[in-house]
């Protein structure tokens, strides 16, 4: 009897701590009109700039719908202008030279609709150095080589940054999004030295190509909204989900960004 009671109590306890579960939500989702999605940037680097256009789909569809019949024009406040060339698969390219300090205007004409966005390319970031440090396995981090960035933009008052890393020529993603974001607010007195650490470790022998990217506030706000969507719980505890704030007018999704990039490479020995 005692043994039986003991096993009953033990199984009840085990069942209790497995009390939560996760499964697919069985709710009919509404079908909205497909929206245009704009992705892409213009930067101060020499490679061609790419704008990617696609359409949103319903939940049943698996593949993306690319848009190849739009007309895209980028013009800069300095007077330069370029109509982008469609390369198929929703990609449009431009060889216009990106100059920091310029405000760029994006115009998209598609199916009689006009979409427009503005973004200002900031001055390129100045970086003191990159370094690699090894950390062994601990409670809050995995074992490996961690990338750190030191003293970013010592003269700046405010800045919005993103770090993208190519590990052995493969774009590295953190939670599915390439890279990692941070802001700098020099109005806080203690912000003289900045040391940021990339959240995921790398292995010995990896070649890392690092882009330190600076963007304007509106673009940064867009990414904030994107992260908010990733952690949204449907409105029970967090806020009600909303689309990230875009700088594109005309009811489109996505964002247009004019960014300046500093490229550096480092090999983990």
């Amino acid at each position: 009897m005692k043994k039986l009671l003991k096993s009953v109590i033990w199984s009840v306890f085990l069942a209790s701590i497995q009390a939560c579960g996760i499964s697919v939500l069985d709710v009919e989702l509404p079908d909205g009109t497909p929206k245009l999605v704009v992705e892409g940037s213009i930067s101060n680097l020499d490679n061609p700039h790419t704008i990617l256009l696609s359409r949103s789909t319903s939940f049943e569809q698996s593949s993306s719908q690319y848009v190849d019949d739009a007309v895209i024009i980028i013009s800069g406040s300095g007077g330069e202008q370029d109509t982008l060339l469609n390369k198929g698969g929703g990609r449009y390219e431009s060889l216009i030279k990106g100059i920091p300090g310029t405000t760029y205007q994006l115009d998209i004409l598609l199916d009689g609709n006009h979409y427009q966005a503005f973004s200002t390319m900031p001055k390129p970031p100045t970086l003191d150095s990159l370094s690699i440090s090894y950390h062994s396995e601990s409670l809050v981090r995995e074992e490996g080589y961690y990338l750190s960035l030191h003293t970013l933009d010592p003269e700046e008052r405010e800045g919005y940054y993103r770090w993208i890393v190519w590990k052995n020529d493969t774009l590295h993603r953190v939670d599915g999004i390439p890279g990692f974001f941070a802001t700098l607010d020099m109005n806080k007195e203690n912000n003289k030295i900045l040391n940021l650490q990339y959240p995921t470790p790398f292995r010995a022998g990896d070649t890392l190509r690092v882009h330190t990217i600076k963007m304007d506030k509106q673009v940064y706000t867009y990414y904030l909204g994107l992260y908010e969507l990733m952690i949204n719980d449907g409105g029970l505890i967090g806020p009600i989900p909303v689309n990230p704030e875009t700088n594109i007018s005309g009811d489109a999704l996505g964002v247009f960004q004019a960014v300046s990039i500093l490229e550096k490479e480092i090999i983990i020995k």
Binding site: L25, L29, R55, F59, A182, L196, L224, Y227, I240
Partner: protein, 891 residues
Amino acid sequence: MGKKLALICVALLLFLKAFPQTTLHEECTVNKKITVVEDLLNHIQEQTGVSFSYNSQLIDPYKKITLQAGTYTIEKVLHHIFDRQGIEFILKGEQIILVPATFSTTPVSLEGIIKDSSSLLPLTGVIVSFPEIRQTVVTNNEGHFSVLLRPGPQSIRFSLLGYETSERNILITSDTSLTVSLNVKDYKLEEVLVQDHLQRNPVRDLKTGNERLNIKHVESMPAMFGEADILKSLQMLPGIQSAGEGLSGLLVRGGSADQTLVMLNNATIYSPAHFLGFFSVFNPDAIEDVEIYKGGVPARWGGRLSSIINNNMKTGNSEKFSMQGGIGLISSRLSVEGPLLKNKASFLLSGRRTYFDLLMKAVPDNQVQATTLYFYDLNGAVYYQPDKKNKFSLYSYSGDDVARFYDFIKVKWGNRIISGEWLHSFNSRLLLSSSFHYSQYQYGFQINLEDEVDYEWSSKLKEHTLRLDLDYNLNNKNQLNFGYNASRRVFYPVYYRLEENNTSFGNIMLDEKNVLEHALYIQNEHQITKRLSFLYGLRYSFFHNMGPGRVFKYTEGLEKRIETISDTVYFSTNEIYNTYHGAEPRITGNYSLTDNSAFKFSYNRMQQFTQVASTATASLPQDRWIPSDIYLKPQTGDQWSMGYFRNLPQNSIDFSAELYYKVMQNQIDFKDGITLVGNVTDQNADVHLNNALETQLLSGKAWSYGTELMVRKNKGSFTGWISYTYSRTRRQIKGINNGKVYSPRYDRPHDLSIVGSYKFNKRLEVAGNWVYTSGSAVTLPEGKYTFEGKQFPYYNPEFRNNHRLPDYHRLDLSLTLHNRKNDERRWKSNWTFSLYNTYMRKNPLFIQFIEVINNDPNIDENEVDQIYTKDLKGVKIYFSLIPAISYNFRF
């Protein structure tokens, strides 16, 4: 001749026995043997069957009388004998009562204490009724009642569910004091009662929208993890909903969780829940009962729009020691109570602790073992009654939630309460209650990871309250209640510090905020006619913002943003810089249609000067309470309600139907897209770090209406209730949802609760709850898109909360086995087994739209061999079946 007359007398008497009103005209013979009063009265009694009642201090039975032999009517005899003595007689059925002639109609008071005959503890809510004059009063928390009556004979009935009804016939000539003991009802199968959930006659009670839930009922309902929970039991009553599965926040008649004032013996508890809201802070062993006002709120209460909930602690046994407790799967509790001074002073000490973490040490995983997760509650009370006119009480509560992961992450939040009360009865008509209350709520969060991260966040809220309440029995048709209360609150600065890799990311102290809220009130409970009574009153509230503090000024005509701050004004300590005030009328009417049915209606206006700035529907430990100020006007609410109440005879079944309509002004909500936490920091948008919340908040109005129906069976081996509410809640705030009307998440039109319990015999009882509600209103995406290689959902900004989750329903069952081998033994115990969500319905608690691998949300991208599909899908997180066992005892 005498004999014949006597025979006729007897015949007449037998014939006339059916017509007691002619008793006085009955005739009797008097003979010479009667020389004293006593003889005469006995003689009349023998002859006619009429009995006499009198106070022997008033009437001397041996007083000599002279009476001529003969036949007289009783009336004549009595007049002859007693008129000279200044004595009158009153007829009551077959009884004649002799009273002094100076018997005026000045009311005298009858007061008393009613106790449980075995434990000798005072009984609350006993219905003391006077059937002849159709008056009823109810005993208060000290088991005390008091009423004004005209002198004369009275029959009094004392009834309370779970106890044998007691009746007394007494003669009231002057101020009288009684002590009555009621016996607990025996467990006979036909009349067994499992719960005492309503200790009043719902028909007679003046207030609408008022419930009193006794702890015995709460304890007999099956509960999550086997933990009886007062706040969750209240969710089974009509008009009261929960924020979501298992969460304790109460949403009453369309109001948000912060619109309910939760108190412990009149002291405010700001965070009444543990474990993110899954358990309330009230240890059922320490609580006697819970009063809840959903509408028709008396003038003595205010400060929140939607409801007032007051948990009353047990008063402790002043006669003998007793102990009770329980051991469960995730928590244990122990209470001790007893006398400090026999019959004059008593104490109560109650503690409860969960030990999720101790059990987790059995799980073979280092990380799980290193986690500390527990909460505790400690309640204490001391009572001292030096004499009949004075009672002193001291209450305290302390409780914390602690979560620790090794030594690196520490989270702690909790409440502290201290209350003191002095009840003073000036005379039988005037009662003064003076009390002070101290309430503190704090929340802290710390992360220390060697040199890497050093993060600290803490916040505190302190409240000091003084209450003076007077009850004045003006006459037996008017009961006045008036008083004053004042609360001083300090919202302590949020302290936030973050250092990562020796780089500081911020060191913020938010502004301290000081406020004073006080009110005067008066109300009268007026019995206008036998059928019609009114409760009318007025509460007038004042609110002041005081220094030390600062206020930002914004450029005229521009939207309030950090960028448009034009000036900052500073205020010194105790300098008042803003005042709000307003009247809150309260009216309730009750019209008795019959002895067992009544129609009631009420109107009340409430003001609220403190609220939670949060996006959450549930109450959370990190809720940020904020006071009204220059930019944030106080919330006001007007509620109209009416209802029909009916009791079937012997209180076996009662039925109620209520309708309400409520309008609320100055309701706040956040501008769309507020970011709380992310991979990035944006301090301006973060609720918790913002000194200028007015830049993030918008305000508008809300309204709700509904119908609440309830049928309750109170007697028999099967007892329980069915409650059904149909209600709608809507909001409209400029700037949100494009200014269009929208539903908050908890707008659930249908809410059905079926609660029942069945007692098979002395040892075995089974109980169950079945709840069914419409799904919560949610915002669902209209489609998905790919951005930078990852899939995201997209939403239509005009369709806020336009869709519903699937309907929610759940069955809970419990089985209790009493160990009652020997009824006489003091040690009583039982085993309770319960199942939460018996048929394992996967009701969604959280929903997310994330990329799902191979159609199974449990698969981790990094740990799977082959990825076949990776699609954006909606997923739900739910509670499955939760079984529990506990062992409970009472000594």
